[in-house]
């Protein structure tokens, strides 16, 4: 099914740093509401100009991280496997996301009891393979379960640095054969597995990784990231992409950036199952 790329987003009306569940979050370093709203709106603008249609999830008071829609679910064709969050603080999001996805006609499924999986934050398709992060948030058994449920090859990757606690903070497929990555977020097994499975890798340095260079949204040739990633943008431009920067620093305070704020509903550009 082709057509305009569909992206689910949730406005940051109730966004804030109300707890600390990753090394980025500090309650003493709160997000500024108006600035966050402006940054979010700028991202929406860039995505719309890239041709995407934005579908909005209604924000909910008391669920400050609902803005990070990447963690709502992992979507595969008409199926959405909703997240089961490791941290209790985020568990209230699941019911909201599930209801919204059902309303959009998705078949919604939950993980078996006892498993944690945090949606597109930890599950990214590159070609026919699902790359899945575990240890920090999702668990390895859940990665395997998702792979089995979707009937695809899955490569579970241990995330060894709590700073890069979701796979989408250190790995970003940009086409079915190409991905951006920050190698130090993985151990040697993970690095080897990625090198074997992805044809071409674009490496990000430590400084730009901390600016969330890997947390990019891809719409066609456009690759949108936080500001402060000039080397990556140069590498992407050299490969024929059109990189765009927009400041998302109010969201990086929570450990999220461009990609975290979006959930692609019709399949990422890098996912082979998306079809022409």
């Amino acid at each position: 099914m082709s057509g305009r790329p569909r992206i689910a987003m949730c406005s940051p009306e109730f966004y804030g740093i109300e707890y600390e569940i990753n090394p980025w979050m500090r309650r003493s370093r709160p997000a500024d509401g108006p600035t966050a709203a402006a940054q979010w709106a700028a991202l929406v603008g860039l995505l719309e100009r890239a041709g995407a249609s934005i579908e909005r999830i209604e924000p909910v008071e008391g669920l400050p991280d609902l803005v990070f829609t990447a963690n709502a679910a992992i979507v595969h064709r008409g199926l959405a496997i909703v997240s089961r969050f490791r941290h209790e603080q985020r568990r209230g999001e699941t019911a909201v996301d599930a209801a919204w996805l059902r309303g959009r006609g998705f078949e919604v499924e939950e993980l078996p009891e006892g498993m944690f999986f945090e949606g597109a934050g930890d599950g990214l398709f590159c070609g026919e393979t699902l790359f899945a992060g575990y240890r920090q948030r999702s668990d390895a058994a859940a990665c395997q379960w998702v792979g089995e449920r979707l009937g695809c090859r899955v490569i579970p990757l241990e995330l060894v640095d709590p700073v890069y606690y979701h796979l989408d903070t250190c790995f970003c497929p940009i086409s079915p054969r190409r991905a951006i990555w920050f190698p130090a977020a993985f151990d040697s097994y993970g690095q080897t597995a990625i090198r074997e499975a992805v044809e071409e890798l674009v490496e990000v340095d430590a400084e730009e990784a901390r600016r969330f260079a890997c947390n990019a949204v891809v719409v066609g040739d456009r690759v949108i990231t936080n500001t402060g990633c000039p080397s990556l943008h140069e590498s992407l431009a050299a490969r024929g992409y059109e990189p765009q920067a927009t400041c998302l620093d109010e969201f990086t305070k929570s450990g999220g950036s461009a990609k975290c704020l979006t959930l692609r509903l019709d399949g990422e550009d890098a996912a082979a199952w998306r079809g022409p």
Binding site: R26, G114, R153, P156, Y189
Partner: protein, 426 residues
């Protein structure tokens, strides 16, 4: 394909795990096998099915042996994180205590980390988490809690072995929480300003959130003339619980009665005539009226840390030791009784500040679960190191003088309060 490791006895403890899914391309299988070897275990792959096509899952059944039950449990915990699960997950095993004040043999010894036990297929979180205890299960309420050896009663159902017990270690980044200022837990050389600011912020946030701050203090607070600062913290609502020994309370009261600490005038720094008797006279005076509270209520004791505790509703626990003079009537001289009172008093504590006491800091560190933030301030780095060596890894240490530390903390709190007031007025 058997693999032997030198230090694994052939009849050592054994567990069979299964790992399935995409374990070849992801290198999960070699990773699990390496993890077993790296921890001194050995394995035999009993079954392996490798998927024929790219999308096919594979499966391996691995028999793991460890050199000891403890080491096997560590290996199992590690490989479970990579998705290798025990083929026959079991409920925790319970044995009924047959002797008062002692666990059954092979009891599960707890850590200070969040722990779960499996009861009839469900994982139940253990309450009152504390290191070096056992776990007692109440079948009726399906609850589990940590219980100290001496508190075991005949008939208690005690968890034995490691089966059906799961520990979720506090992530280092998480446990550091607000204390990102240090990459090493003990700091002697680093700038103290940031650390002090973080301590003040923690105290402030706990107070704002209506949480409980526990202060564990030694007599140096009085000897160094820092008691006024502590009194101020108490008056301003930054301390809800106090743990100390006979000495802190005695010298504080001596100071209130005679203006001396250990016979030395704090104002002038010289020894008072017959000053060495002051602390005994102070203790005696309190013993004559029955308790510190009585002394405050009768108007006998009119200032100091203990006075402020009584006046401001701070619950204090004074634990005795073998070298105590007196002691004060409030001092609990039975060690087990003191431990049990402290155990009850640490419940609900969200922040613990330990100042200038090795004995009481370590005793308190033993009782706190790993997720309670602890800052230990001492002029002697070894106090902090001892705390960490005993498993209180969540401790952040600050090697500094008490007096300037407390003064600076209060200054920081002043500015936090001012900033908060400013915001409130907008």
């Amino acid at each position: 394909m058997p693999t032997a490791s030198a230090d694994v006895p052939p009849g050592g403890p054994l567990e069979t795990v299964e790992i399935r899914g995409h374990i070849i391309d992801s290198l999960l299988l070699p990773k699990v096998l390496d993890a077993i070897m790296a921890r001194g275990g050995s394995f035999v792959i009993r079954e392996i099915e490798v998927g024929e096509h790219r999308d096919d899952a594979s499966r391996a059944v691995i028999e793991i042996r460890g050199p000891t039950p403890q080491r096997l449990a560590e290996i199992l915990a590690e490989v479970a994180d990579h998705g290798a699960v025990s083929l026959h997950p079991v409920d925790c095993r319970l044995v009924i205590a047959d002797i008062e004040g002692a666990f059954p043999e092979n009891f599960y010894a707890t850590t200070n980390q969040r722990t779960f036990v499996r009861l009839e297929g469900d994982w139940v979180e253990v309450d009152d988490q504390e290191m070096d205890c056992g776990i007692v299960v109440d079948a009726g309420t399906r609850r589990a809690r940590c219980v100290a050896m001496t508190s075991i009663r005949v008939g208690d159902a005690v968890v034995v072995g490691h089966g059906g017990v799961r520990v979720e270690p506090q992530q280092r980044a998480e446990s550091r929480g607000g204390f990102e200022f240090m990459s090493s837990p003990v700091s002697t050389e680093k700038p103290k300003g940031v650390a002090i600011r973080d301590v003040a912020r923690e105290l402030f946030e706990v107070r704002q959130a209506g949480g409980l701050t526990l202060l564990v203090g030694g007599p140096a607070i009085v000897h160094t003339g820092s008691d006024g600062h502590l009194c101020e913290l108490i008056r301003r609502g930054y301390v809800q619980r106090l743990f100390a020994g006979n000495a802190l309370a005695t010298h504080d009261i001596e100071q209130a009665f005679f203006g001396t600490s250990l016979g030395v005038h704090l104002e002038r720094g010289d020894a008072a005539e017959a000053g060495h008797e002051h602390h005994l006279r102070a203790i005696n005076r309190i013993r004559r009226v029955g308790s510190i509270r009585q002394a405050v209520e009768q108007g006998l004791l009119e200032s100091g840390i203990m006075y402020e505790c009584v006046r401001n509703g701070v619950e204090f626990t004074l634990a005795g030791s073998i070298r105590d003079d007196g002691p004060l009537p409030d001092v609990i001289t039975d060690t087990l009784e003191a431990q049990s009172r402290m155990r009850q008093q640490v419940r609900g504590v969200s922040f613990c500040l330990m100042i200038a006491t090795t004995l009481h800091s370590i005793a308190t560190g033993n009782l706190l679960p790993a997720w309670v933030k602890v800052v230990c301030v001492d002029i002697n780095p070894s106090t902090v190191i001892k705390l960490s060596d005993r498993g209180s890894f969540q401790t952040v240490g600050l090697v500094t003088d008490v007096q300037p530390f407390l003064r600076a903390v209060i200054e920081e709190i002043d500015s936090l309060e001012a900033a908060a007031d400013g915001q409130g007025g907008r």
